[in-house]
């Protein structure tokens, strides 16, 4: 008998829960032979990539959300709507001496109640804490919008709509889209939102009155937090910088690169650039993504001593089997990246998706002459996140069925590929997309001259990417609902 606790029900945690329930078997879960408990503060699952479409009014929040409880009920998984607050990986020293997680309920009519949940295996897939507070004035509670959650995106859509109405009345507007801090990640999402806004402005017939500015922490366009991509295009080996810049020029989207947003006031964003200069830009609408941090979780040993700094990196992300030795960019290798996602010293604790602490950035880290770090953090979302969830679920299932000595499976981001599709518009004929794929996510210069496989690392623009993004929207929601044949759909 084994009890598995999964913290978080995003792409990684939910994928792990679905696969574990399939591998351990509904009968064993229902009879209590094994248990899977998913702890998430949110009642709904959110297909986050489509929040971009919610953010421009092309979709409504219910189209990207569905309740988790019925899905888990059907699969014999216990759902606890709560926020994890602490873990005790060495046990509690009480009657049930197993390791445990402390949670505080956020729903299920038990708001504020605390509970201790013992575990035999733990997956930390909590995703990010949205650190709007890192930049004064940033975020939906202050002076800018976000598309990180469906409700944030709905608010952004309403504000964008007001801006468009104002332009229809003959006014001119400046719209700023991008990153709200020098260490943000998910540049691809901001890139996608910028081109969705451009599309909406054109559809509304107000593009001429709009100044659209992409404000990013990337040192050059097309970096995407993965040090850019080199790919073959029309018989040339080219770089994503040229590819992305061409799109910006074609769509008349202005760009400010290497920027760290210092403060957002009502209608003005203040930022520092890599040359150390400080600038301000007035805006009528701003969607600026926040930097991510680990979800605040404390860790205690058996005696109640705080061991948070042993388990978690200063960023709040959980340490796993990565090589965290500080090294300069030139000495980074693909071997620095984790393979099993097992926490050091604990063969029953794993961290996947955004929750694991990366060993370093993928893009070259830069500082302004003032010492301000302006360096995109590595993306760990989407396809890699799902594969990590499934890999760790398989490792745990094998340990449960074959014994503790079962060899853990590996899914290094130095081997995994990823796709990023920045799609705008809706409908089958009127949309378009910039579709990028890369293999591997973390460049491997020993295996590939350009760091990545040129056959699978591509960038292209057209309807095809838009169709793919639309299909992925429906396919992944179908999969996440655990419907017939869900496990045949790859992560």
């Amino acid at each position: 008998m084994a009890d598995v606790v999964i913290l978080g029900a995003g792409v990684s945690g939910h994928t792990a829960a679905l696969h574990l329930s399939r591998m351990l078997g509904k009968r064993d879960l229902r009879s209590g032979n094994h248990s899977i408990t998913v702890v998430s503060p949110n009642a709904d699952w959110n297909w986050i990539p489509s929040n971009i479409w919610v953010g421009v009014g092309k979709m409504e929040p219910p189209q990207v959300l569905f309740p988790l409880q019925p899905v888990y009920e059907k699969r014999g998984v216990k759902f606890v709507q709560a926020r994890a607050t602490a873990i005790r990986p060495y046990g509690t020293g009480s009657d049930d001496d197993r390791p445990s997680v402390e949670v505080t309920y956020t729903g299920q009519d038990r708001d504020g109640e605390s509970e201790v949940i013992p575990y035999d295996y733990l997956i930390n897939a909590t995703g990010p804490k949205l650190r709007f507070e890192a930049t004064p004035g940033l975020g939906p509670d202050h002076h800018s919008y976000s598309v990180c959650t469906a409700s944030h995106a709905a608010d952004a859509s309403a504000a964008l709509g007001r801006c468009i109405e104002s332009m229809k009345d003959g006014n001119e507007c400046t719209l700023v889209v991008g990153m709200g801090h020098g260490t943000c990640t998910c540049e691809g999402a901001a890139f996608e939102y910028a081109f969705n806004v451009d599309h909406e402005l054109r559809e509304a017939g107000v593009r001429e009155q709009a100044r659209l500015v992409f404000l990013t922490n990337e040192a050059q366009l097309g970096d995407f937090g993965v040090d850019g991509l080199t790919f073959e295009h029309e018989g040339f080996v080219t770089h994503s910088e040229l590819w992305a810049s061409s799109l910006f020029r074609e769509r008349q989207v202005e760009a400010i690169v290497g920027a760290h947003v210092e403060r957002v006031d009502e209608g003005t964003v203040h930022y520092e650039t890599l040359d150390g200069e400080h600038h301000s830009l007035d805006f009528d609408f701003a969607m600026l993504l926040p930097p991510f941090g680990g979800v605040p979780l404390k860790a205690y040993d058996r005696d109640g001593e705080d061991i948070t700094d042993q388990i978690f990196a200063p960023s709040g992300f959980m340490k796993v089997d990565a090589d965290y030795t500080p090294r300069p960019y030139e000495e980074w290798t693909v071997d620095d990246w984790p393979e099993t996602y097992m926490a050091p010293g604990f063969d029953n604790v794993f961290a996947t998706g955004i929750a694991f602490a990366p060993p370093h950035q993928i893009s070259r880290p830069r500082k302004s002459p003032n010492g301000t770090v302006i360096a995109p953090s590595p993306p760990r979302t989407g396809m890699p996140s799902g594969v990590m969830g499934k890999t760790v679920a398989t490792t745990i299932a094998r340990k449960i069925t074959d014994g503790e000595d079962a060899v853990p499976l590996k899914a290094s981001m130095g081997r995994l590929g990823a796709a990023c599709i920045a799609s705008s518009g809706a409908g089958l004929r009127r949309g378009t997309a910039a579709a990028m794929s890369m293999l591997p996510v973390v460049p491997d210069y020993e295996r590939y001259e350009t760091g990545r496989d040129l056959h699978d690392t591509r960038g292209e623009i057209g309807l095809a990417g838009h169709w793919l993004k639309l299909i992925l929207h429906y396919l992944f929601i179908y999969k996440a609902k655990g419907r017939f044949g869900w496990h045949l759909i790859p992560e």
């Binding site: 500015v213 061409s246 910006f248 400010i256 040359d275 600038h279 301000s280 899914a411 699978d456 992560e491």
Partner: protein, 56 residues
């Protein structure tokens, strides 16, 4: 480097960046061409999934 706020906005100069030809822009919405690209994109993603899973 300065503590003063500059009045200029450091907009990236993209005037030298190539623009697509009219033919390239048409190809992006050509149903035939995009159907072929759609199939190619799917095959590429499936190949990536297979390679990624094979790394275990």
């Amino acid at each position: 480097m300065s503590d003063e706020t500059s009045n200029t906005t450091p907009i990236l100069d993209m005037s030298g960046v190539p623009l697509p030809t009219a033919r390239t822009v048409r190809a992006r919405t050509s149903l035939f061409k995009q159907t072929m690209r759609f199939l190619a994109l799917n095959l590429r993603l499936l190949r990536m999934v297979r390679k990624g899973h094979a790394s275990r």
